[in-house]
Amino acid sequence: MAAHPKRLILVAALMVATGGLTASGSAGVQVSGTERPAPARIISLVPALTEMLFAIGAGPQVIAVSSYDNFPAEVKALPKVGALLDPDTERILSLRPDLVITYGSQGELESQFARAGIRTFSYRHGGVPIVLETLRALGAATGHAVEADRTAREIQAQLDDIRARVRGRARPRTLLVFDRQPQSLQQMYVSGGVGFLHEMLEIAGGSNVFADVRREAVQPSHELLIVRAPEIILEVRAAGLLAADDVRRERGVWSALGSVPAIRNGRILFLSGDYLVVPGPRVAQATAAFARALHPEAFR
């Protein structure tokens, strides 16, 4: 089975395509139109925001989602209308939404909807604080401000809890790999010093070996991997657990870089699940997964 589920690819695409956007930038969420009644027919092209909608209680208002959505379970029954590169404008219009959640780069699309009198909520990719801001803004736009605020505070509390648990512990130098072709070390994508993956890693008590690179995604050469010498390699994949044989094979591939501490000490960890790569309401869950992997003793 091809282990390249679409969610992961979408994240990867986003990180590479929007590379360089810093989390400290503007909130970047824009809602067109003036104060109006809460929208009753919402279409979301952004999986992370779909999850947010359901988390803040706006689930019943969602009538269609993107082709890459598969959480929560309710979205499986909903019509799929494309995503970043291929939004099915006709289908969207035919469903008569009153709010469409779009990507920030889909300017053309947003103008189209504006002309058709449809509100759009424009999402820009960013770090963990952006996720919480977006959650609140989405709550305001959909008439669920109270639930949104509560959800945001819950997430924040969970993150603070993780921070507390790992405080004072040595922060291992970590390589966070989010896209790698099996059996090869060429052309892998790892997290740079910017973006939600990096921030989650830092909250979880890890020290990103590429924290100095002001980009979301880095493609390290063999030499760079040897020089940065991570103590832990965290490989994140959106779909299915790796079979034991595959794990062994992939560890074998890494063994070419014998001087890297993570490889010498066998600290190559594989984490699976799409919650790990979606900058949505499950970031606390994802951060906890990272933290458990990096500091198991802190969670006994």
Partner: protein, 347 residues
Amino acid sequence: MTTSESALPRVAREHRPLRARLAVTLAGYGALALAVCLLAPLVGSTSISLARVFDRSIPFADNVDAQIFFVARLPRVLAGAMVGAALASAGVVLQALLRNPLATPFTLGVSAGSALGAMLAISLGATVTLGPLSSVLASFAGASLAAAIVYGLATRPGRAMSTSVLLLAGVTLNSFFSALILFVQYMADFSEVYLAVRWLMGDLDVGSLGPIAAALPLVLAAFAIFAILPSSLNLLSVGADTAAARGVDVARTQRLAFLSSALATSAAVSLAGPIGFVGIVVPHLVRLMVGADHRIVLPASALFGAAFLVACDLVARTLLAPIEIPVGIVTAVLGGPFFLWLLIRRG
């Protein structure tokens, strides 16, 4: 000088014997290639010490300098030398075959076929289930298919190849395969698209000697054929009928030229992706420096091509460290303007 040479008229004596020119030129280019290849693994974004690299007292797995040298840089330099020599030589031979100084190793569609093979392997998930070797094999298969089609169209048994048919077939195949590649990319998943796009920019960071060893027999076979071509290529490039009237087996020379350049190009592209500009800039630079005689141009281009690509890769991995520039971009950015400058100086 021997007595027979000194008895020659002055003009003949001043035309330095080819043997001497060949020896001097090859020694010079050989020294350059060797120097670049010996120096390159020592230079990079991280400084390493040669003494530490070869210090046997430190276990290999602990010796970071040795790891960088042997695992990261040396395979890269060797791959660069091999690919650079292969592409430069293939360029020289194809320019002679097509009687056109603007021909490149990619003119006849071999590189597009290779790219299509690799794209298909990547997007059909073959690399996921079968590993990176599958994309290398697929890319070689694609290259062979393209070469076979062009060859089949342009060859008549016993007759000389039509260079215009060769060119047309190659250009058409290039366009057709490029369109197919775009289509495959359009239908593929995002990460495959980025992988594919990145592959098209060239990558020498093979990380081990395995892929190099796999491509080596093909490159050696190509070079074995290259070795017998130069004087025939000289005559052929003056005119096919004149060459035939001087004893050159035109059909055989053309087929060998096509076969050897296709072999060298497909091996290079399968190993490192399509790295452009080497196959046109190096032959031209070398001709501007040593003249047009293929007996000098071909070996000199191989050596200079090796040095050129290794040097470009060095720039690619150090200029914006820790970010790496794809080597195909560096060859274009360095090769192009330098070539223009040389032409302007000459004109």
